[in-house]
């Protein structure tokens, strides 16, 4: 389903020029890839390209005319290799489904670098589908990664992953359509928004957020990371009537950006930086009163990647403080790189105070990790989510 929606990027959405921007970036990257051909090109540093890089929409910086990305252009110039940058990931689950049959059979996935959220990154690392990152090739990354991102139990020494960005899941809305500012998760269920609400597909974002709301009402006692299957069942039972009545129009991946652009969605669960970087001027993101979900998306090199050195070069490149600051300033996500706050404060003090890039203590106190489930449990939750999604 999402796989199809993803292709919408290449049609011009009305009204919101910003969204066209994201699609143009994809087109530009595609054209860049075509222009150079795809044969291996040895460069001075002995790094071969092109770098086949799969990432999420609205996750790369763009030039003013939104036809190319300074980060990618500079990288290409520095290493003299092409970057085949594709905004092919709309949800973790869908992208995993495209990788699993190949990596599971020891075949090349065609990607040199992919970006997956913690729980999915942990799953593919445990499955042994990820190449070890060469520490010699990535000194900047090892030096600059923020300390609190180190020491995760699934990869304590950063052998297999480096964070791309962190972000939050919260409530996005179009202030003109809703006619008021929203502050909490419960606002999604205002009858005035019937048919204009979308949630995120799968359980990892939607279920913990609704869980936080139900916890506020005293119906669930656990925080998201400790939610049980019973809690998930309660979330399902709470949402079901809203799905049946058509209040919740759809479950989406990253393509909610298009629906905000066309006005078909007024209120939705969204990822924190997207609307700021790629939404319209009336689209807002709010950290809900009940709390928000914090996650980190990670760069991974799939097993058998043909241009592993190029991927390592990219990891090191985006951990350069200046490069990281430029990237974060455009995409409005939380950078994993030390010193980005100071770097941004030098040039743009307003941005340094932006809660999307640098959430304050009262917001971070209310940020909760996603549930980390074992395989069997994961399938049961996914089944609950599938039941809500109708397929």
């Amino acid at each position: 389903m999402i796989d199809l929606e993803e292709r919408i990027r290449t049609y011009p959405v009305t009204r919101r020029a910003f969204i066209q921007g994201t699609s143009l970036a994809g087109v530009a990257a595609f054209l860049a890839a075509c222009g150079g051909g795809s044969s291996p090109q040895p460069s001075e540093g002995g790094i071969e390209g092109p770098l086949n890089f799969a990432n999420w929409p609205a996750y790369i910086d763009l030039t003013e005319d939104e036809t190319s990305s300074p980060t990618l252009t500079d990288f290409e110039a520095k290493y003299e290799i092409e970057v085949n940058y594709k905004e092919d990931i709309q949800t973790n689950e869908d992208f995993y489904a495209t990788l699993a049959p190949l990596l599971g059979s020891n075949l090349d996935s065609g990607w040199d670098m992919v970006v997956l959220t913690d729980y999915m990154a942990a799953r593919v690392v445990r499955a042994g589908w990820i190449e070890k990152i060469d520490a010699v090739g990535t000194p900047t990354a090892h030096a600059n990664v923020r300390d609190e991102l180190k020491g995760l139990d699934w990869d304590p020494n950063m052998d297999y992953h480096f964070p791309w960005q962190s972000g939050a899941t919260g409530v996005g809305y179009n202030v003109v359509s809703t006619g008021r500012d929203l502050t909490k998760i419960e606002d999604l269920f205002d009858p005035a928004f019937k048919g204009k609400v979308t949630l995120l597909s799968g359980y990892p974002d939607t279920f913990p957020l609704i869980g936080l709301m139900l916890k506020g009402k005293g119906e669930i006692s656990n925080f998201p990371a400790d939610m049980t299957f019973d809690d998930a069942q309660k979330v399902h039972d709470y949402l079901k009537p809203f799905v049946d009545s058509g209040h919740i129009r759809k479950f989406t991946g990253n393509e909610y950006l298009q629906d905000f652009g066309s006005g078909d969605t007024w209120v939705a669960f969204v990822w924190s930086g997207d609307l700021a970087s790629s939404g319209g001027e009336d689209d807002r993101f709010v950290y809900p009163e009940e709390g928000s979900i914090i996650w980190t998306d990670n760069m991974l090199i799939p097993k058998g990647a043909k241009h592993k050195a190029a991927a390592e070069a990219m990891i090191d490149f985006v951990y350069d403080v200046a490069n990281a600051a430029r990237l974060a300033a455009w995409i409005y996500y939380i950078s994993p790189v030390k010193g980005v706050a100071e770097e941004i404060a030098k040039s743009d003090p307003d941005l340094a105070a932006n809660e999307l890039l640098f959430p304050g203590p009262e917001i971070t106190a209310q940020m909760y990790a996603q549930p980390a489930l074992e395989d069997a449990e994961d399938l049961k939750w996914a089944d609950l989510a599938a039941d809500l999604e109708g397929a």
Partner: protein, 350 residues
């Protein structure tokens, strides 16, 4: 002599060989694999246990039970789309075949023209047409003010059926056109010479019955998840039946002649059969329209199969559902062929 005869008798098999090989490699083998999957247990992540270790027929029974709503959606939407395609396509094909004159080729080209863009682009353009900023809502909501500000067409059965009807219309028109085009005009002239005039009384009654029935069918089909958010009421059904009957009656009385009913339509039946099969089969298995234009309540069985294969990696259930769908379509076609009894299908000459 003998030798050359024998080699000649081998020629048909040689000619068939590439096609047969193709079918074996790309149809038979995958289907054997799928049957094996449909009786297996497990998922991609946990690994599969396949026959002969396990014969898990519960995939079929459980799948049919759990996804009965999706099967119902497929049958209802596919059926409605086929009927709507027929109602739009038959007059269109008829006009092109009988009144097209020197514009025939151009008109046919226009019917196929949308096919020069991709299926996805066409569906997405419907998303724009029916969307919040689209022309339809601009008229209904902003122009006439008959629907509230948060009214959506996207996500309703109407959007899905509309999309399906649009997508598969050429599949209906082309076979109909071919069967209408080859009708011998002298038969119609002969019928008219033999006093086949306007079809007044019969047309009014038949048209009224069909029209009333159709509008109620549309209401029930589209109404159970309901465009307006309200459950369909008896009063609405009666009103629909009356409106349909009136429209159908008028069409039957003034637009249909006896020569059409007795000569043209029966002669075009093989085309009607082929066209409805060609429309119904892809429509019932479609998932793109429901995915892009529909909502959680309008997902068809194709969406379940796609989701189970590509999102949950639950191959056994997906394969079982695919076979159930295949069987259902085959049964439906067999029944339909029996009812319509077209000679082309039973081996006679048209």
């Amino acid at each position: 002599m003998r030798k050359s005869l024998r080699s000649r008798s081998a020629i048909p098999y040689l000619l068939m060989a590439p096609g047969l090989l193709w079918l074996i490699v790309f149809f038979v083998l995958p289907n054997v694999q799928m049957i094996s999957f449909s009786l297996s247990e497990g998922t991609l992540r946990t690994g599969f246990t396949t026959p002969p270790e396990v014969w898990n027929f519960d995939n079929y029974i459980g799948g049919l039970g759990r996804f009965s709503d999706n099967f119902r959606n497929s049958i209802v939407y596919g059926g409605l789309a086929t009927i709507l395609c027929f109602l739009i396509g038959y007059p269109l094909a008829y006009s092109i075949a009988f009144r097209g004159g020197r514009w025939k080729s151009l008109l046919l080209f226009l019917v196929i023209a949308p096919f020069f863009t991709s299926f996805l682009i066409r569906t997405i353009s419907w998303k724009i047409i029916l969307g919040n900023d689209g022309p339809l809502l601009a008229l209904l909501r902003d122009g006439l003010g008959v629907v509230p500000a948060n009214f959506s067409i996207l996500g309703t059965p109407l959007a899905v059926v509309g999309g399906l009807t649009y997508q598969f219309l050429p599949f209906m028109v082309l076979p109909l056109y071919i069967s209408l085009e080859k009708i011998d005009r002298r038969l119609i002239e002969a019928a008219q010479d033999l006093y086949a005039g306007p079809w007044r009384r019969g047309g009014t009654i038949t048209g009224a019955i069909f029209g009333g029935f159709l509008l109620v069918a549309l209401q029930v089909g589209l109404g159970y998840a309901s465009v307006t958010g309200e459950d369909p009421t008896l009063a609405a059904a009666v009103a629909g039946a009356l409106i349909g009957a009136l429209g159908g009656g008028l069409v039957g009385r003034y637009l249909v002649s006896q020569s059409f009913v007795r000569v043209t339509f029966p002669l075009s039946l093989p085309g009607v059969f082929a066209a409805s099969i060609l429309t119904f089969i892809p429509a019932i298995g479609d998932y793109v329209n429901a995915s892009l234009l529909g909502g959680p309540k309008t997902q068809m069985v194709g969406n379940v199969i796609q989701g189970r294969f590509l999102q949950q990696n639950d191959y056994p259930i997906a394969a079982a559902l695919a076979f159930i769908l295949m069987a259902a379509i085959l049964v439906a076609i067999a029944v339909y062929a029996r009812l319509l009894g077209t000679e082309e299908l039973t081996g006679g000459t048209a």
